[in-house]
């Protein structure tokens, strides 16, 4: 009997009637049309996207960014009110399981979201242009974006196999970036710069590789070419989206060494997105842990790895087998990530959490517990968990956007 009930409930949650489906589609069309119109207006009015950094030492400041996807089954809040900074000349590691919004965060910063269904609906992403000026990437028109993309922010993608164009020679693909952003350079200069870049990323046979097609190179070599393309214009920020996941351990070591070496050479910051805690520990100065579209903990690498505070971070550390550490049974976090279309209004991790306290269930104004606020537990260490509610300084709840209100 109990099984049947469970079955029914399960069915209820995933079932959408034709009427509901039509309603969702209509709503999506209205919202995306509105948002696209707003974007078109921003083109005429620079005051909409020109802004100032809160702290001039940061390259990028994410301030309550909300990126939603308007899909046929409802609004998916892929990124819902995240706040963190990327300081100059440092590496920030973003860690989390698949589907937690790591990649969407980076795509929002590059304005590469699949529009019109994917939209950044709230918050600010401030990008430092120097001299106290900044752009709010959320409203920046495409023409301005093109000056930033590849030039000031560049991206290294996860799969070197699929992100190079198979029908163009390696040399041409590196040249392309330079031609676009430095029209004043002559052909000869561009060629020399490309060869220089190829040498810098450790390709011994640079003249040969210049004339090769991507299929003639191995995975590690292709990833080096990707890095060369990303670094060609000496960007201020490199986004590395799982740069070593598709590579072997030995090649991974080569690429990681190369990245940290080059970072110092051209004085840029790296936003390293990965799910491998080992990679983050060896590379990052600051770590941001994400869960279900929210930042749950952030701090220096030392804070996160030696004094993890959020139960999810602690669980994640314990569940990874470590060479040389014998354990009988690996720790595992029970349960799954909540359904992104229908997020609970309390702490997203509560249903899987082993360290719940009274406050997690307590009602603030009678309506049930809210999502925990960000709490400062040391100068560099921030966590969203009620366990520290009385100890640390409460900074505030994530600001989110109600999809219905976008139409008003």
């Amino acid at each position: 009997m109990a099984d049947n009930k469970e079955k029914k409930e399960e069915k209820k949650s995933s079932y959408i009637s034709a009427k509901e489906s039509r309603k969702i589609t209509k709503f999506n069309r209205k919202v995306t049309k509105r948002l696209e119109a707003d974007r078109a207006n921003a083109k005429k009015d620079p005051s909409l996207y020109k802004t100032h950094m809160k702290d001039d030492k940061n390259v990028v400041e994410f301030d309550n960014v909300c990126t939603y996807f308007f899909t046929d089954v409802g609004v998916v809040k892929a990124v819902d009110g995240i706040t963190f900074n990327i300081p100059k000349c440092s590496t920030v590691g973003v860690v989390g399981e698949s589907g937690c919004g790591k990649s969407v965060t980076s795509l929002s910063l590059m304005q590469l979201l699949q529009r019109p269904s994917g939209q950044t609906v709230g918050g600010e992403i401030r990008f430092n242009l120097g001299d106290g000026n900044a752009y709010n990437i959320v409203n920046t028109p495409t023409s301005k974006m093109q000056e930033i993309r590849g030039n000031k922010v560049s991206m290294i993608f996860q799969e070197p196999m699929t992100s190079l164009n198979p029908v163009f020679k390696i040399g041409m693909q590196v040249n392309e970036v330079l031609e676009l952003h430095h029209p004043e350079m002559s052909k000869e200069e561009i060629r020399n710069r490309t060869l220089e870049m190829l040498e810098m990323v450790g390709i011994a046979n640079k003249e040969g590789v210049y004339e090769m097609y991507p299929h003639e190179l191995s995975g590690g070599m292709r990833q080096r070419v990707m890095i060369a393309i990303a670094l060609a214009c000496s960007p201020e920020l490199i986004i590395a989206d799982e740069p070593t996941t598709a590579l072997d351990v030995t090649i991974q070591a080569q690429i990681l060494d190369l990245l940290s070496e080059l970072k110092d050479k051209i004085n840029s910051s790296i936003m390293l997105i990965t799910h491998d805690l080992g990679v983050v520990a060896s590379m990052a100065d600051y770590v941001v842990v994400m869960y279900a579209g929210r930042v749950i903990e952030k701090g220096t690498a030392d804070d996160i790895f030696h004094h993890p505070a959020h139960p999810y971070t602690i669980g994640l550390m314990k569940s990874k087998p470590v060479v040389g550490k014998k354990v009988d049974e690996l720790y595992n976090i029970e349960g799954n990530v909540p359904n992104p279309v229908d997020m609970p209004d309390y702490c997203y991790f509560r249903d899987r959490c082993e360290m719940q306290c009274e406050r997690c269930k307590a009602k603030k104004d009678g309506a049930g517990a809210d999502y925990p606020p960000e709490i400062k537990i040391s100068d560099t260490h921030f966590v969203s968990c009620y366990r520290f509610f009385d100890e640390g300084e409460v900074l505030g709840y994530p600001k989110t956007v109600n999809a219905e209100e976008l139409l008003k």
Binding site: Q254, A281, S282, A301, D302, G315, K320, V327, N332
Partner: protein, 352 residues
């Protein structure tokens, strides 16, 4: 050469009833055809003389970079493809000498779990049917008990009964991998080949699946061959570990021995490249230069000498043999050769 590659202890190992699986000097070459006349112009030596034995109820880990022949070894052991040379004994029978009928009878006892749980389940069958299909085919349980049996297997793998009528796309990656494990387990196997079962999963889900595999092993006395490129996972689950490089096994020993004191320079480099989740950890990793050479045209002598830090003169011309360097610790490297033999070789090459 080929006989010398076999570790000494494998002589007559197939007759030992403790060994469930014995692989002797297994080779698998894939021919390269020329575009005209389809002539064979060369061979990709995917597996080039691999030998090992797995005891009943234990787990052997097989590690190496991609393209080193781990998966080909696994598939050839299961006779999913024909061998080129060598012998594979399962419970005393040579798998490659069995007829089609006999092989079919043996199949339920050897099962496989694939790497990608997204592509290895039929999208058109409900989960209950995916698990029941092979059970019915091999007549493991009578028809009337089949439904109960499937439920029991699913429960053992952490799935609920009401999952039975649902389709694979409704499940997450970890759940799908549980379905794959249930499908393999339903046939009551003795041996399961796990071909990178956790590399497509998230860390927290990975731990669930590894724990499940270990629990099932204790419960049913299973034997695993665990193929993976994640060295920390292999250390956790295996009793013995074999390290492969370019179609050859370069080192083979018990897990504790190989992880505490790796002998082969490749193994040393491989272990030092594992990222450790501790920011204070001093990085003294040995970064191997260059890439894995093409298996169609492997270097002469020791296949690793092009990337080896401790490469000697002899390595460039003579392939090392697999030797028992320490009791139970096998390694194929000239570093552990008799010093006198090395001297002799030096003189010979000088006189040449």
């Amino acid at each position: 050469m080929s006989e010398e590659m076999t570790p000494v202890s494998l002589e007559g190992a197939e007759k030992d009833s403790e060994n469930l699986l014995v692989v002797k000097n297994l080779k698998k070459y894939f021919p390269i055809k020329s575009s005209f006349f389809k002539m064979t112009v060369g061979n990709v030596k995917a597996v080039d003389g691999v030998s090992f034995a797995i005891k009943k109820g234990t787990t052997m880990g097989l590690v190496g970079e991609s393209g080193c022949g781990k998966s080909t070894t696994g598939r050839t052991i299961l006779r999913l493809q024909e061998k080129t040379e060598g012998e594979v004994y399962f419970d005393g029978q040579d798998i490659f000498k069995l007829s089609k009928e006999e092989l079919r009878k043996l199949r339920p006892r050897i099962q496989i779990i694939f790497q990608d749980p997204y592509s290895s389940l039929s999208p058109r069958l409900p989960v209950g049917e995916i698990i029941a299909e092979a059970v019915r085919e091999h007549g493991i349980v009578p028809k009337e008990e089949l439904d109960d049996y499937v439920t029991r297997v699913m429960e053992a793998c952490g799935l609920q009964e009401w999952h039975k009528n649902r389709y694979p796309h409704e499940f997450s990656g970890g759940q799908r991998q549980r379905i794959c494990i249930a499908r393999a387990l339903a046939l009551n196997p003795d041996f399961i080949l796990c071909d990178e079962p956790v590399s497509a999963l998230d860390v927290s889900i990975q731990a669930q699946i590894i724990n499940l595999l270990r629990d099932l092993q204790k419960q049913f006395g299973l034997t695993y061959l665990f193929i993976s490129h994640d060295l920390s996972v292999v250390e956790h689950i295996s009793d013995t570990v074999g390290v492969m490089y370019l179609g050859n096994m370069v080192e083979y020993a018990e897990t504790d021995k190989i992880y505490s004191k790796p002998l082969h320079p490749y193994t040393v480099a491989l272990f030092s490249a594992i990222p450790v989740p501790d920011p204070d950890y001093k990085m003294n990793r040995i970064v191997l230069q260059g890439n894995i050479p093409s298996p169609a045209n492997p270097p002469e002598g020791c296949k690793f000498h092009t990337r080896c830090e401790k490469c000697m003169e002899i390595c460039k011309s003579m392939a090392p043999e697999m030797r028992e360097v320490e009791p139970g610790h096998f390694c194929a490297c000239h570093l552990y050769d008799d010093p006198e033999e090395l001297k002799k070789f030096g003189k010979e090459s000088e006189s040449r």
